[in-house]
């Protein structure tokens, strides 16, 4: 198989990917974090600085009707 899987390489791409999963399906995405630790790069370019994040709790995202 010649196709390679789509990879997210930028923050906007990540946001759109999330939207595409939600839009049109009335979907709801719930993330439950239990002391997740991650080093978040400031950019996707070369030599980014990293911020250390620790996340604990619940996040639910869904679409709503435009008012």
């Amino acid at each position: 198989m010649s196709d390679t899987p789509d990879e997210t390489t930028t923050w906007p791409e990540l946001a759109i990917g999330l939207y595409d999963r939600l839009t049109g399906r009335n979907a709801e995405i719930t993330y439950e974090f239990e002391d997740m630790e991650v080093d978040v790069p400031s950019t996707t370019g070369e030599d980014p600085e990293y911020a250390y994040w620790r996340v604990d709790g619940t996040l639910t995202i869904k679409t709503r009707e435009n008012e």
């Binding site: 390489t9 930028t10 906007p12 946001a15 250390y52 619940t58 639910t60 008012e67």
Partner: protein
Amino acid sequence: MTTASTRHQPAETVAELLDTLEDRPALAVDADLTVHLDGTPIEVTGYEDVVALDFPSLSALRSRWQGSPVDAMDMAAVLSSVGLTAEIRVRGVPLARVGDAAVPGRLAGLLGLGPVELVPEGALLALVTRRRG
């Protein structure tokens, strides 16, 4: 030659992201999170169209704001495009709002904060209010 996919080019800039988000439905966020950012605890609470970010002190907020890799203008535009408002709090006291429901004032512009709605009494309250418990 046929095109195998109708997938658009991925958005790589905020402007491209805004174009892609145009006419899409708004988001609703429910959140009950504690995020430690380089050791600073930030309480994140989502109320559908408002996401509150509660910082432990004014200095922690200032440090995070100045070190943010995201420009305030871009942040406001992206939040507005998905129908969300971020409310910035210090120890539970609202100081500022950015995004869809924010009404930016002249003071924020004069202070170089960008399209931010300031809650003028918030800063004073945050200075005198101590965390309970």
